[in-house]
């Protein structure tokens, strides 16, 4: 089988299935079964089909490229290139639309030959050209490497679980709904029709958009689907649109994302105007003139050409710098590169809710819980991290520093806020923000695999946690943890799957032996942070923040679990009515908890000798060129003090065991503290709260970010609006009123003129005609004899006249 044509077909089909479901539900939604009940089956079937296709893609990928790659080898890059592992197909042999674009296969193109000594294969090509404006080409294409395949499996699997779960969770929407949170002006609660089918319609569109981002082969297409993800989140967060809080949250999510997208557009413009292409990978393009197929360098190979894939300032950026009249084109072009990287990252900041744009994510809890689970794990926020990972080759060390610092700040702020939150979903939301900060931080300090791995593992346990919390909310009909407690006995499935999620996110495990999935990904991040600290003592503080964040994570997660499931019920009424969720809801929890435990397990447990987990090895296949293969650290050009350590550096035993111990001890510390407070109740949280009222208020109010933005942006905007309204009322309205008055006077004058002259003329003419008519009327006497006399007299007069004037002529 030719992978170059099967992979795009498989993933393309997996990508389009949710779109088909969206269209079907959109057109026939309410007519599918009773009240649209079958819409859920359609959407679930579609995403399940996607998952199967993605799984086949994964299997065929591993069948071709294997799971394991020689990740640690230090062979000289100057050596003669060996035949790359993916030279099986020449572009001419494959179908036109499914081109295998293998720059490396054309080894003679020495300029940007792409020697994949680590077997990092990718397939890219275009399916469809949307538009072509001169050099600018907007296409729907694909870029498939092992990251794409892994992401596809992860997204479709989690989305499938969430679809099943949502069928149970959204059951209320099957009949008419009375929304107790909306009070109408007449004092009644809002009564509306159920929107079950619409929920699944948007869910399908959401999956389609996210898969589009993952599959996308160029920046423009990424942006399109990026925005589609945004608009889907808008629809779903605002699903209960009649609630003021929901519509505000939806607006907030959308607007805050636009702020980030603005930066992304700047980055895209910087890239396109200097590099002239949106494509990630090298494309085979057919030369219109000669008909030959040649390779067109994509963004990645322009930024990192040559066999060693070192980051260089591309020719296009130097030209762009020269065009501005800069003397040091190298340096100026480098700036452009940094700006492009930071700009793209701005988009990721918005989408992945990084500081300072993190405020929308907790508010997004207004959506139904399955949406929260999807937004927080597989789609939306994952899109930001995924793009940062996909775009990794373009990030200069300075841009990476920005990413690391932003990630670090985010993880710390969010973790601290989560400590005091009592809304079960908000705790999880801040935990998500914090974990996203971890991912960004990992990317920023050079841990590409660590970051991506955390993305995958986090997706599993965070969707698990959200769906557990949804199950709890479904049972007790409140989000407030202070009204829960002791629910473990009532809903054991939920309680213990949630415990698995908590352990996974805290990174629990037996050091050096085995652990939950979070154990591996968090270890990798901490290890990378240690390696980063060794080369950058200046930025070493980030390590301690990350470690502190890990401890805090463990603390607030177990605080959540204890408050919800252990101890005595705080609200007896709610406790009595609590019940375990239906099977359709807790079976997905079990599936996800299996993955939350085992997705990152090293294969050694199954009995293979190879080291490390298959997930790591698969991701290793996709490590961007020039990131994992570098000896030592990469240094920045502008800020020479910044150095990005190679990811291999963190695999040294000393660092690795230190990281394991650090991560384990911090997590254990957090866990024990939570147990002291909420499990054994040796310490009273209220006392601590009273001890540090300022700190508590600060955290309770979420660092006053909302208030700050309110004062910084919302209030000025309102002020501006008030000023504009005042101007409208007092200046514009006056001008308009004045012009109305002028018009009135002018029309009065016009009226006078019309009456006097125009009407006068017409009337005078009429009167004159009338007078003439009256005068002639007298001739009509009605007397026949008189008429005869007129005739005779007329004849006589005519005779005389004729004889007078013509007489001479006749007489002659």
């Amino acid at each position: 089988m030719d992978l170059a044509s099967t992979l795009p077909t498989l993933l393309g089909a997996a990508w389009l299935l949710p779109l088909a479901s969206f269209v079907i539900v959109w057109l026939f939604g309410p007519r599918l079964g009773h009240a649209g009940k079958h819409a859920g089956y359609v959407a679930t079937g579609a995403i399940l089909g996607s998952f199967v296709l993605a799984l086949i893609a994964l299997l065929s990928w591993t069948g071709k490229h294997g799971v394991f790659v020689e990740a640690h080898h230090d062979e000289s890059h100057a050596g003669a290139p060996t035949a790359p592992p993916r030279s099986e197909s020449s572009p001419s042999k494959s179908p036109v639309q499914f081109r295998l674009v293998a720059a490396a296969a054309e080894g003679e193109h020495a300029d940007y030959a792409h020697y994949d000594h680590e077997g990092k294969a990718y397939y890219t090509g275009d399916w469809y050209t949307l538009a072509k404006f001169g050099k600018l080409q907007l296409t729907i294409g694909y870029y498939i490497d092992s990251l794409t395949v892994v992401m596809f499996c992860m997204v479709t699997l989690i989305a499938s679980c969430i679809h099943f779960y949502a069928q149970g969770y959204m059951h209320d929407e099957l009949h008419d709904v009375e929304d107790h949170e909306v009070t109408l002006s007449d004092g009644h609660h809002l009564h509306r029709r159920g929107r079950y089918h619409r929920f699944f319609q948007y869910l399908s569109l959401f999956c389609f958009s996210m898969l589009g981002v993952v599959l996308s082969g160029n920046m423009a297409m990424t942006f399109v689907f990026w925005e589609l993800v945004g608009v889907c989140s808008y629809f779903l967060i605002g699903f209960y649109i009649e609630r003021k809080s929901a519509s505000t949250a939806a607006n907030k999510a959308f607007i805050v994302n636009r702020v980030g997208d603005f930066g992304m557009l700047i980055g895209m413009m910087a890239l396109w105007s200097s590099l002239g292409t949106f494509n990630f990978g090298d494309m085979a393009v057919e030369d219109a003139a000669s008909g030959e197929t040649r390779s067109q360098a994509g963004i990645f190979s322009q930024v990192r050409p040559g066999p060693s894939h070192e980051l260089v300032v591309p020719e296009g950026m130097k030209q762009a710098a020269a065009a501005t009249g800069s003397e040091d084109t190298e340096r100026c072009g480098y700036w452009l590169l940094v700006i492009a990287g930071v700009g793209i990252f701005c988009g990721c900041v918005g989408k992945s809710a990084q500081f300072p744009l993190h405020t929308w994510l907790p508010d997004a809890m207004e959506g139904p819980t399955p949406v929260s689970a999807l937004v927080h794990s597989a789609t939306m926020v994952a899109a930001g991290v995924y793009l940062a990972g996909r775009f990794y080759p373009v990030f200069a060390p300075e841009a990476l520093l920005v990413i690391a610092v932003i990630g670090c700040i985010t993880l710390f702020i969010a973790a601290t806020i989560a400590i005091t939150a009592v809304d079960i979903k908000r705790v999880l939301a801040y935990s998500t923000v914090s974990q996203l900060g971890y991912m960004m931080f990992a990317l920023g300090v050079g841990g590409w695999v660590a970051g991506m791995m955390h993305l995958v593992t986090h997706a599993f346990f965070k969707s698990l946690l959200f769906m557990c919390s949804g199950s709890v909310i479904h049972a007790v009909h409140t989000n407030d943890m202070t009204k829960m407690g002791g629910l473990r006995k009532k809903m054991p499935w939920t309680a213990y799957t949630m415990l698995v999620g908590c352990l996974a996110i805290a990174g629990a495990g037996i050091p050096f032996l085995v652990g939950f999935s979070g154990y591996y990904s968090k270890d990798a991040i901490i290890a990378q942070a240690i390696a980063y600290k060794e080369v950058n003592p200046l930025w070493g503080v980030t390590l301690f923040v990350a470690a502190g964040g890990a401890a805090t994570t463990a603390f607030y997660m177990f605080r959540l679990w204890y408050m919800t499931f252990s101890g005595q019920p705080r609200d007896a009424h709610k406790y009595d009515h609590a019940h375990e969720s239906p099977k359709v809801m807790y079976y997905p929890l079990v599936v996800l908890s299996v993955f939350a435990i085992a997705v990152a397990w090293p294969i050694t447990i199954v009995g293979d000798a190879a080291e490390g987990s298959p997930l790591v090895h698969l991701l290793n296949q996709a490590v961007p060129d020039g990131v994992g293969s570098m000896e030592g650290a990469v240094r920045g050009t502008l800020a020479a003090s910044v150095a990005i350590p190679s990811e291999h550096a963190s695999h040294v035993d000393a660092i690795h065991s230190a990281a394991t111990m650090l991560a384990f001890s911090t997590a254990l510390g957090g866990f024990l503290l939570a147990t002291l407070f909420y499990g054994w109740k040796y310490l009273d949280p209220a006392e601590v709260r009273n001890q540090f009222p300022q700190v508590y208020r600060f955290l309770w109010n979420k660092w006053w970010f909302d208030e700050l933005y309110d004062a910084l942006f919302v209030k000025p905007a309102h002020l501006l609006a008030a000023v504009a309204a005042w101007l409208d009322k007092n200046v514009l309205d006056r001008i308009i009123d004045g012009s109305a008055k002028v018009t009135l006077v002018a029309s009065r004058y016009d009226d006078w003129f019309d009456r006097l002259f125009v009407d006068g003329l017409v009337n005078w003419f009429g009167r004159w005609t009338y007078g003439v008519g009256l005068a002639f009327r007298r001739l009509q006497t009605g007397s026949v004899r008189q008429y005869a006399m007129f005739v005779v007299l007329g004849t006589v007069v005519l005779f005389f006249l004729l004889s007078l004037f013509l007489g001479t002529a006749v007489g002659r």
Binding site: G782, V784, A788, M789, V792
Partner: protein, 114 residues
């Protein structure tokens, strides 16, 4: 020039025509009876006919320059046809008028007075 002494020529015909025309015109102007007016019209028309016939007669006017051929006679025939048609219509009008007003006095027929 004395018409009574001259041999019969065109002038005599013209004199007869003129007398007929004037008699007809006076008849039209003075008669109050609608039928009298019709008679006057006949006189006027026939006075004109006499003139036409006289002018076109080759006995009365000789020479190639003065000859009119049969034109005068033809026009006279047309006038006779016209007069017949006109008399028919006028008599019908008179009859109707009589039906409505029980008189044929034209001075009473001033409905169309402006």
């Amino acid at each position: 020039m004395n018409l009574l002494t001259e041999p019969i020529g065109i002038s005599h015909y013209l004199a007869v025509g003129a007398v007929m025309f004037v008699a007809g015109a006076v008849c039209m102007a003075t008669k109050r009876n609608a039928l009298g007016i019709l008679m006057g019209i006949e006189l006027v028309l026939n006075g004109a006919n006499v003139n036409f016939v006289a002018f076109s007669s080759e006995y009365l006017r000789s020479g190639p320059r003065a000859s009119l051929g049969l034109d005068g006679q033809l026009i006279a025939l047309f006038v006779i046809v016209l007069a017949a048609a006109e008399a028919a219509v006028a008599l019908a009008i008179a009859l109707n008028f009589y039906n409505n007003h029980a008189t044929i006095d034209v001075d009473r027929a001033d409905d169309l007075k402006g």
